[in-house]
Amino acid sequence: MFGKKLGVVAASIALSSVVLSACGGANGNEGATQNQDAKAAEGKESVSLWMFDADPMYQAAAEATAAEVGVDLNYEYIQDETYKTKISVALAANELPDVFQQHAGKSYRTPVLQSKTVAPLNDTLDSTGLGAKFLDNQLVKEEDGNIYSVPSNISTTLVFYYNKKLMSDLGATPPATWDDLQALVSKADDKGIIPIALGGKERWQGDLLYNLLVARQDVNAFDNAIKGDAKFTDAPFVDAAKQVATLVSSNAFQKGFLGSAYLDAQELFKNDKALIWIDGSFNFGALSKAMGDNLGYIAFPKTGAEDVYSATIGFQNSAAPYSLFVNNSSKHLDKAKEFAIKLSLKLNDEFVRKGLPGYAASEVKSESQNEQLSAYATDISKTAKTQAMWFGLLSADTGQEYRDMTQQLYGGNLTPEEYTAQLETLLRSAE
């Protein structure tokens, strides 16, 4: 009845007319074609790029790549949460830039592929010979045999950070077991120190902590349950939910943590108000810079039957990693493809330079790592399994409902048994 693009634009206008003033921040959807006519007049092709990573490294790498490829770059950084909204509207309306970054996980990758707006990169990967530089399984081949994306981030995992100064003030040592953790929580709480800072407003931190607690109970619990070989009401899920309830009831998290934004909670940790911070390994650099030697790291304690090297929770998802895609309507498609692939490799060089394991071959030498990052790299190399965060394996609506439900567990609205029963219903029906 209506054209898809017209439909999405009209729906967006109507839905947004009342609400979107707070979600702005970035400029409107310029899309791939804006500024390109002006640039073309100057005789140089231009490539527009949308990124959500705030690290200045990304813009620097993009600018260097643009110079190498010989294009003008229209770089637009968009705040992470705003990006998720903006990209979904741009996808549906086919108002994408030439190249764009996308989050890891099925709920983010599937709509990109279904929209049929992204170009296969096989030809450029083959013709330039750059495809051979990527390590095995780092380029995701879709069902039609095409490769539609190149990586934009290395594998990152959930990390247990602690504040060394506060740990020392307490006369305590980092916890190795569930009992240690409980004792440490109790000790910190008694001394008026926030045991664990948690940004409950965005929900993902609590969600990932629960994922990890389940993996510590049984490393294969989620995989078995999602395949139908086990249930989400089985012991590992219930026991981990009980651990969450125990942490909440023992004041492990700051007052009002359900309403705390991630960045506000992080400030508590950085400013010596909170002892423990559970966050992604992508924050090692920023936290080290802010806290110096005060930043401590340990492998997540043995809170269940599994040992500390049995598994970790990964933000990446091998089938749906953080990626760069190229808009197949780009006016300079070939240049855009070349730019995306070279940018991916340039970013890889930057990761390798920082001493992190890259996703492609690199001639760059690693700079020396700080002690904590070295310990993390060693631990990760010993870790047997990286369980992708559950949210990344679910569709957008199921994922959001799942996070809402997990927040209810943290809020005490659901008992561990009620929570796991609802989890079973939700995830089973989503299958």
Partner: protein, 294 residues
């Protein structure tokens, strides 16, 4: 010129461009949204007609929908029964011929000129249970037991947001009411004074009745604002914790743009449009009465 102004066809002709733009950018999207509300659609794949399923889900299966409706009612009642009386009181105060009244008027109006996002972020910091000013002040005043996790507790989150929106917009209504009060002739008060109507009696029998049209406008504006509230809630709580501050507009945003349920999001949008129209119409009917003249 007078001939032109009496020519209805010419007037209609001049109205056409504006009306066309209005129809294209206002009515067409609303009609299309109504159409999408009968579909299951993720914004990318083809739509599937589902009839009234989205509306059935809204009224029967979505628990947070009714929470959002109740929260809208709470915003509405607060706007009419708390914010408006406060605004009226302030308007009366700044109408009095006293020293510095201009200054007070500007102070009370000042929050209105600040953006909602800025105000909301400011109050998020004030309410912060760990480092916020409010709890610190309470503790300094030896009222530490009153300290709360204001925005992080389901029991206090809605009230905390309502306080902020009341504080933010009380000056807006104050200014409208102040302008209304300024329009009431002094003669009425002088005549009333002769009959012994001073102070509260003058307010009750002169100011309020002559201000009824302005009050009606304020009520309608407050109600519509309450039903459409989004920005302050989005910034302060994002509808949480546990949906305790969720609103219809926020749910609509989350369904359409986060869950990619454009069909259900459209159904919520349609509900909100109808809700606003019906309540505004009812208010106009109920509050309209013959103009009072003394």
């Amino acid at each position: 010129m007078e001939r032109a102004l009496s020519d209805k066809k010419l007037i209609a002709l001049f109205l056409v461009p504006g009306l066309t733009v209005f129809l294209i950018f206002y009515f067409v999207p609303i009609l299309m949204t109504a159409y999408y509300s009968f579909q299951e659609w993720d914004g990318i794949n083809p739509m599937a007609f589902v009839g009234l399923d989205n509306y059935t889900k809204m009224f029967t299966a979505d628990k947070s929908f009714w929470k959002a409706v109740w929260n809208s009612v709470a915003f509405l009642l607060t706007g009419v029964f708390v914010q408006l009386p406060l605004s009226f009181g302030l308007a009366l105060l700044v109408s009095r011929k006293m020293k510095g009244r201009k200054w007070f008027r500007n102070i009370y109006f000042f929050p209105v000129v600040m953006s909602t996002t800025m105000v909301s972020l400011l109050w998020v910091k004030i309410y912060d249970p760990n480092i916020g000013m409010l709890n610190t002040l309470l503790e300094a005043a030896h009222l530490g037991s009153w300290a709360q996790a204001w925005l992080g507790d389901t029991k206090t989150a809605l009230l905390s947001v309502l306080i902020v929106t009341t504080w933010h917009y009380v000056g807006y209504n104050m200014l409208i009411l102040f302008a209304g009060i300024q329009g009431i002739s002094e003669q009425y008060y002088e005549a009333a004074k002769l009959d012994g109507a001073v102070g509260w009696k003058a307010v009750r029998y002169i100011t309020l009745p002559l201000l009824s049209d302005v009050l009606r406008i304020c009520v309608v504006l407050n109600v519509i604002y309450a039903l459409k509230t989004f920005e302050s809630v989005y910034v302060m709580t994002n509808g949480g914790p546990l949906h305790s501050t969720t609103m219809i507009a926020l749910k609509m945003f989350q369904e359409a743009f986060l869950k990619q349920n454009f069909g259900y999001g459209s159904a919520l949008a349609v509900f909100m449009v109808l809700e606003c129209l019906i309540i505004a119409w009812v208010l106009n009917k109920v509050l309209t009465r013959e103009k009072i003249e003394y």
